[in-house]
Structure formats: C-alpha cells, structure tokens
C-alpha cells in the first residue's frame, strides 16, 4: 500500500480512532427515531396505491373519529400554513421541456404508487397507521406509463394528465466532428445496453421531527437529510417564513448514499402539520415506504457506437441515451448528465456526442444514488471497449492501455463542461499505472491458464476489468468555523453533513493537526443551520475536499493567532512556540508554556483593557475556501468470477481495486468508503433490481424481494492505492465516497462475458440475475443448435 502522503504530520494520514464511535458502539447514538418529545404526535402518510389515478374525493370522517387521532390533513387542510404548494427543487438546466415540481401532497392526481396524499396524526405511530388506513379515497385510474422507452413513442399515454408528452428534458453533450470521424473510421462497434440501478437503502430510512415554538414563532426541524441548509431554504419558501425562524438540524444519520440530499414532501407536510397543530410531530419512514417514496436511480437505455483505428485507438464515440426520470423533477437531469460526463473521461476521446432524452414515467422520482450516473456511463464505455477488443483481436487490458489518458498529458483539459459550465480538466493521476497495478494484483496475465484448467473440469471462469474517472469535491465552497473557547476546548462547525462516513473525525483531524494534535479536545458540529450560517451539505464526494480545505485554512489562521498571543504573553518569538495538546510551549523548554484556555481568555478581552496586539478579539476563524473546478479521482477494478452454467449463479472469486484519491487523510476511512461502495457495486451488478410491472406497480417492496449484499456474497477484495497530489486544494486530496461503486458493474459484466465466451454471449445489461444468465445461455444454445 503506497500511502503516507503526510509524512511530517502528527495526525493527518493516520488511522486515528473515530470521534463518532463512542456513543454509537454503546447504543447511545441519537438517530432521528430516537427523538422523543413531550406532547409529540406521530405521523403516518396515506399513499396512492395506483401508479396513475385521478383523486375524486377524500373522506377522512371515519379516520378522524378513531381513538387517539389528532388530525387527518390533506393539501387543502394545510393551505393556511403554506405559501407555496409545490417543492421547487429542480437544479437549473436549459434542457427542460416541461416543469414537473411535485406537490406537498397530491390533491387531484396521483402519479406514482407511494405518492403521499394525506398525513394522519395520532398519539402513536400505530394509531396513525390505523387512521391512514381508514381514510377513504375515491380514485379513477388513468393510463399508466411504466417504461421510459415506450413513454417516448408517438401516441403514448402521458404520466401526467394533460401533459404534451413524456419528454421532460433533452440535451446533447459532446465535442469534435463525430460524424466525420465515424465516416472515416476503419472499425465501428455498437452496443445497445439496458442498465438498471436500484435504491440507496441506507439502513436508516428517512425521518423528520418538527418542533413548533409558539412563543417566538420558531420551528426546529430535525431531519435525516444530507442538505440541512437547502432544506431550511425550501421550508422557508414553502412555509413563508424567514430563515431565522427555522432551524434545520441533523441527528446521527444512519447512512444516506444520495437520496437524502433530495428535499421531500414529507419534510414539508410534517413541518406544516406541526405548525397547524402547535405540537411536535414525528414521522419515520419504514422500509416499505422507502421502496415507494424515496428517490431511486432505475433504468437507462443506451444505444452507443465506438469508432477506432486499426490499432484500437479511439476516434469517436456517439450515441443516444434514454433515462427514466420517474414522475417528478426532484433534482434535475444530473443523473444522466453525470452518466454522459463520466463515459469518456478515462480515455483520450477525440470526438464525442451523446443525445439524451429524459422520460417521465409513473414511478418514484429518480435522483442520485451513490455514483450518481457515473457507473452507467462507465458501463457503456467499458462495454464498447470490450466489443472493440474482441473485434480487433486485442487483449482487453491492452486496448485500454492504448487509450487511457497518459500521465504526461496531465493536467488534461477535456472539452467537456460540468453541469455548472465549469471546464472538466483532469488534474492529476497516472491512469495506465493504476490499471497495471490492478492487473498485476489480480494476476491478469496468469488468468488464461486458470481459465483453461477450470474449463477442463467443466467450470467456467471469467475475468474482467473496468476503469473509471470520477469528478469529486464539487464546489464552490463549504463553510467551516473554528473557535477556541475559554475552557481551551476547540469547537468546529460546518455546513457539511455527516452521514456515517467519519466526516467529524476527518475535520477533527485536520483541525487537530494545526491546534495541538488532540482530537479529544475538539467537538465538531455538522449539519445544523444554527451552528453554520452557510452550507451545501453532503454530495458528490465533496466533503473532505471542500470542508476539509476550509477547515485546514481556518485552523492554520487560528494557529497563527494563538502563537502570536502566546508569544506576547510569554515574551518570546511566536516562531519558537509550538502547540502540544492544550498548551503552547517554548520548543525545547517544556516548563515555559501557557494553556490554550489562558490564551483564549486573553483574546476574549476584558472591558477597559487592551487586547493582545496584532489581531481582533476572540480565537475564532471562519473560512469558505472557494474552488470551482472538480478534482478527478481514478481507479481500475479487476473481477475474477465463476458462472455456474447449470444454475446461472455468478460467484466472484477475487476482486482487485486500484485507485487514486490523492492523499489519504485517514487510510482506514478511505478503505471503508471504498469497501462500502464495492459492496454496493456488487449489488448493482448481480442482485439489486427494483422491479415494476406493466402497470408501474412495484413488485420488490421488501428486503426479501430486493436483495442487498450480505457478508457471504462479498468476495476477497484487495485494495491498492496510488496517491497523486492534486494542485487544486491545499491538502492535495480528492473525494472517495462514491468511487467504489463506479467500475464494479462494468468489471463484472466483462468477466461474465469472458466466462460465457464459448457461447459468444454478449452482456448488455445489469443486473445479472441467475434467471437472466440462464436465459442468455438458453438463447445461445438454441441459436447454436439451428
């Protein structure tokens, strides 16, 4: 393992114990559902059982009469508390062809199974569920749009009554003279692909507790969200309140992985219900609700072509992408845009063009799940490269080696732009070396012998690889403040949101590096609008890069001020001082020292006495380092597996993951992020399938039907590290939160195709269930017997 990018550091780059662990390991964490307040009401939502239906009438009289029921509220009932009736959460894009802002509660038309229509409030959750079940709704079912390809056909029914079509957005991404390159290319390869991704399935589902404070007309909203500041702004807009009236805070979050960055109807309905009733209201999503109410990624159909020269060098890539958007625009077009942006990124691609159509369907809205489209884009590119390798008779690793962006061209300016119009420039890395590390780690060159030996025994082994480049650390900023109070304790507050990755440990490490090295003296407050004036929260593998940079700069500035004041009080030069634990010491003279507490008190000042010279009052530093450009991490995965041709079962035998996320602040946390992502990627490759029938009824609504990876499905995983320092931020770091998931589906597909090569089976879809594989085998056998 080649880690150790902070050789001189005290705590950076080291596997220090996590500050999060102590309460969590004792069962003393405080998750959303652990919040219990006096007089609190419990909410349950009444949800549409139809994928598409008119709501003719709602009769809640019987439900309201049940014991323990405080209220049944529909959109009409909430109107007095609402300044707006829709959630305007779509990010800007010129690609939209229609606006689909979802309502706080559906009132005339329900457009997916699970859409909330009414909120029941009762003295317990059980009573609230009884009440919701007793509400009578008169539905008139409407034609359903269940598939995004069919949705775009002429004459298709529309997912929304009265909509001109199901085309939500369209755009073209690309550069260069693609068609000319294809005309002149000696070789072309085409793939039609269907890629499915499921939900995030954090082990903790979503939840909200809203606490009205009538004396000052304030509202505290505890939410299991990745974006508390955005949630506050949206609540202010919809409830018609100023920001200083609403605090949004996050308790411990039991995983998030994307969907908790979306702002949801339940967050508004619970907040509005708390204001309407004057009582605290709690709603906790259960798993079955999570399947029908929390954002998913779902289906993409790609029709793509690759043009190469005789040596397998890429001349151009072109194609079309159709993306299932679900019923509402809850985030925008960022998932397919991320997919298209990721597709060519690891390689030198002279000309590129993908046309995108985003289709509305009567299904749960689509928004980012860990990876946010990038696994799909990588899958499309890697499938094409495998097709080209096969067509040209090249080794799959060799064709990639010839096309990977070489290290001598770094920084490599691509013609692509991010969704915000920022140039995509690959900032650092040695992609060919990374691939070679993965190949060596997996003994790629020795595989043909292993494969042949297995075949001789009637076993079918395959090996596959995939490369990815991931945009991480999305800017423009994250807020961090560092304060040393009179006790000498250090308080860090940030707009970043912790959701289980060790964000607080990461920030405490960075601050401790500058301020004494003792993480035990540092308290980090994340995800609380009362503690941080600004914040963009957790997404895009951004928090170490953006919040980490701000924490580093703020802590360094505070360190300077501490040493300056200590120098004055001790009458020595600041350069001769060091901070050790809670004291500032004269280097080499241990008895000359001063506590951080005394320095903080001196800096706080006393009425009528002058402050220490050279700076303002207090030991406080605030920073929002602004970085627009993303920093690009990369990696290569090699999967070796066996396909049981009798049952269709795929067993991954070995997985090697070589990657580069810049300097590792905490190697064990980095590996933890990668391992979690890899497990998720294995789920996407082989197990996780959110199935809807032709009426857009979800068929997988529990964890026995929708399969998450458990310990017995995990293969041996070897993680190999390269650390290429990025010049884009002061710590030289890149993000790693999503990296693990990105190449796994592509590597597994490549390996399954290799294992099934005796039948010349092409793998054109994910996930690959045993049923799918048996169907492919049976079709191939039928074809060959003709």
């Amino acid at each position: 393992m080649t880690v150790g990018g902070f050789p001189q550091a005290r705590v950076l780059g080291r596997d220090v114990p996590r500050v999060e662990d102590e309460p969590l390991i004792r069962g003393k964490g405080r998750f959303l559902d652990d919040i219990a307040l006096p007089d609190m009401l419990h909410a349950a939502f009444l949800r549409s059982p139809h994928a598409h239906a008119l709501i003719r009438g709602i009769d809640a009289a019987a439900a309201r009469a049940l014991p323990g029921v405080a209220a049944i509220l529909t959109l009409a009932d909430l109107l007095p508390c609402l300044a707006e009736t829709c959630l305007k959460t779509a990010m800007p894009s010129p690609s939209y062809r229609q606006q689909l802002d979802r309502p706080v509660l559906a009132d005339r038309e329900a457009v997916h199974v699970g859409e909330p229509i009414a909120i029941a409030l009762a003295e317990s959750r059980a009573l609230a569920e009884d009440a919701a079940a007793a509400v009578e709704i008169d539905y008139d079912p409407l034609p359903v749009v269940a598939d995004c390809l069919a949705a775009l056909e002429a004459g298709a029914a529309t997912a929304h009554r009265g909509a001109p079509s199901n085309l939500v957005a369209e755009m073209t991404m690309g550069f260069g003279d693609v068609d000319r390159a294809f005309e002149q290319a000696p070789h072309r390869f085409r793939e039609r692909l269907r890629i499915h991704r499921g939900g995030s399935h954090s082990m903790e589902c979503r939840g909200v507790v809203a606490v009205p404070e009538p004396v000052e007309d304030r509202l505290t909203v505890w939410s299991s969200t990745q974006m508390p500041h955005a949630a506050r702004r949206l609540l202010c807009d919809i409830l018609g309140l100023d920001e200083n009236r609403i605090r949004v805070a996050t308790p411990d979050i039991g995983g998030a992985f994307g969907p908790k960055l979306v702002f949801y109807p339940e967050e508004v309905a619970v907040a509005a219900a708390a204001r309407a009733t004057g009582r605290p209201v709690k709603w906790v999503e259960d798993r079955r609700e999570h399947f029908v109410a929390t954002a998913q990624e779902r289906d993409q159909y790609w029709d793509v072509e690759l043009a190469t020269d005789a040596d397998g060098r890429i001349l151009a890539v072109r194609g079309a992408l159709v993306h299932d958007h679900g019923a509402w625009t809850v985030r925008g077009v960022n998932v397919p845009q991320g997919a298209m942006g990721a597709m060519p990124l690891a390689y030198v691609v002279p000309a590129y063009r993908i046309g995108l159509k985003v289709a509305a369907t009567n299904k749960v809205p689509v928004a980012p799940v860990r990876g946010a489209g990038q696994p799909q884009g990588v899958f499309a590119m890697e499938r094409l490269l495998d097709a080209a390798a096969r067509g040209l008779g090249l080794d799959r690793a060799e064709i990639r080696r010839r096309n990977l962006v070489p290290p001598d061209r770094m920084p490599y300016a691509t013609p692509l732009k991010t969704r915000g119009g920022i140039a995509v420039t690959l900032d650092s890395g040695d992609y060919p070396r990374c691939q070679q590390m993965a190949l060596d780690g997996a003994d790629w060159s020795g595989f043909p012998a292993r494969q042949a030996a297995a075949r001789a025994k009637g076993r079918y082994l395959g090996i596959g690889l995939a490369n990815y480049v991931e945009g991480t650390g999305r800017g423009p900023y994250e807020h961090v403040s560092v304060r040393i109070e009179g006790s000498g304790k250090i308080f860090v507050a940030t707009g970043a949101a912790a959701m289980g990755q060790g964000t607080r440990t990461m920030l405490a490490q960075i601050v401790a590096e500058q301020l004494g090295g003792d993480l035990g003296r540092i308290e980090v407050i994340t995800g609380d609008t009362a503690a941080a004036p600004l914040g963009l929260g957790g997404s895009n593998s951004r928090q170490a890069v953006m919040a980490g940079s701000s924490a580093h700069v703020a802590a360094r500035r505070l360190r300077q001020r501490v040493l300056e004041i200590a120098g004055q009080l001790l009458e020595v030069a600041p350069a001769d001082l060091e901070i050790d634990g809670d004291r500032v010491r004269l280097k080499g003279v241990a008895e000359v020292s001063l506590g951080l507490s005394a320095i903080a008190r001196a800096a706080a000042g006393q009425a009528g006495f002058p402050l220490p010279e050279g700076g303002g009052p207090g030991l406080f530093a605030r920073e929002e380092v602004v970085i627009d450009a993303m920093t690009y991490a990369n990696g290569s995965a090699v999967a070796e597996l066996e396909v049981d041709i009798g049952t269709g079962k795929v067993t991954i035998l070995n997985l090697v993951f070589a990657h580069d996320c810049g300097r590792a602040l905490h190697p064990r946390l980095v590996e933890g992020q990668l391992m979690g992502g890899i497990a998720h990627g294995i789920g996407n490759a082989l197990y996780e399938y959110m199935v809807y029938d032709e009426n857009a009824q979800p068929l997988t609504t529990n964890l026995a039907e929708y399969l998450l990876v458990t310990a017995t499905e995990m293969p041996p995983v070897k993680i190999l590290h390269i650390e290429s320092t990025t010049p884009l931020n002061p710590l030289g770091i890149k993000g790693v939160g999503e990296a693990g998931v990105i190449p796994i589906g592509a590597a597994v597909a490549s390996a399954v195709e290799d294992a099934l090569s005796p039948w010349k089976i092409k793998i054109d879809r994910l996930p690959l269930s045993p049923v799918e594989i048996l169907a492919l085998l049976n079709a191939a056998k039928a074809r060959d017997s003709l």
Binding site: G27, S124, M203, G254, G255, T712, M714
Partner: protein, 168 residues
C-alpha cells in the same frame, strides 16, 4: 402510551439485568417496547420485516429479531440489548472494542444487531474461521462497510474472549 382499544397485558421482562414491569398492548413489538416504553433506543429498526437484522437482541442468550417478536412474548424472559453489552464498570465488550479498532462501523445503525448476533455466535463458536463469521452475520445487512472490517474485528474479539494472545 395508550394504544386505542387494543387489549394489553402486564408483563415483566428482565432487560440488561433489571426487571422491567409494564402494561404492554398485545400488538406492541418487542422492539417498540424496548425503544418506546423503556427508552432503550440503541436497538434500531431497519426493515421491520425480519430481514436486515438491525433490531437483533438476545432473548435468554439467543439472538432474536425484536421486530418479529411481541413484547408480551418476552414476559418472564431475559433480554440483552446493546446497552447491556459493556461491563458494569463501563468497559467495552471485546466485540465493541474490536469494532472500533477495526473500523467495523461507519454510520453505526446496523451495529447493535451485529454485536448481539456475534455475542451469541462467539459463545457457540469461540474460535471461528472468517467463513463461519460471514455465515453467522449473513442475516445482518450493513450498507456502509462491505463487512471485511467486521469480520476482522470479530476474529480479534474471539481471540480476546478466548484469552489467548493480546489485543492492541
């Protein structure tokens, strides 16, 4: 908490060594009884249909899904939750300490069920292989760690519980 017109029963459950007497509605699950009635919120609910394992507690030393068991079924039995794993002096159970050392938890939501599952497992199987540990926790879903760190922590904890070798 009143629960409508549902019938209730008086129950006495020994939880983490203390006898807890309460009036429990017959439809109340053991998990809700622990979390809501006894305020022991360390036991978490991840699916409430018996698959994810987050709510696992020990009933008379056996790992049980508290979401699939009614509170009234625990009447007269001994229940141990994550809050009861540390020693009376507060020192962590070897599994808890090893989970921290090996980064066996990230968000910590599934951790209580994994710990209780493994406490029972290591009693039955004090010197397990990695494969046996994976089988033992195959009813506990963790979305964060990819499980390797949990397996490593369990091997170390097993060694500590057997009393052979030293832990760091």
């Amino acid at each position: 908490m009143s629960d409508g017109g549902c019938a209730s029963r008086s129950i006495a459950v020994t939880v983490n060594g203390s006898v807890c007497r309460a009036e429990a509605p017959v439809r109340l699950t053991l998990s809700d009884f622990l979390r809501q009635t006894l305020h022991l919120t360390g036991t978490h609910l991840g699916c409430e249909h018996g698959v994810c394992g987050a709510c696992t507690v020990l009933v008379d030393g056996r790992a049980m899904r508290s979401c699939l068991m009614l509170a009234v079924q625990a009447d007269g039995h001994q229940v141990t939750t994550i809050e009861g794993l540390a020693a009376p002096d507060g020192s962590l159970h070897p599994l808890q300490a090893a989970f921290c050392r090996h980064h066996g938890l990230q968000c910590g939501f599934c951790t209580p069920g994994l710990l209780t599952t493994l406490v029972e497992f290591l009693k039955d199987c004090p010197d397990p292989t990695a494969a046996e540990i994976r089988e033992a926790i195959s009813g506990n879903i963790c979305r964060c760690t990819g499980y390797d760190s949990i397996v490593a922590a369990t091997i170390e904890a097993a060694r500590a519980l057997r009393g052979d070798g030293t832990t760091p």
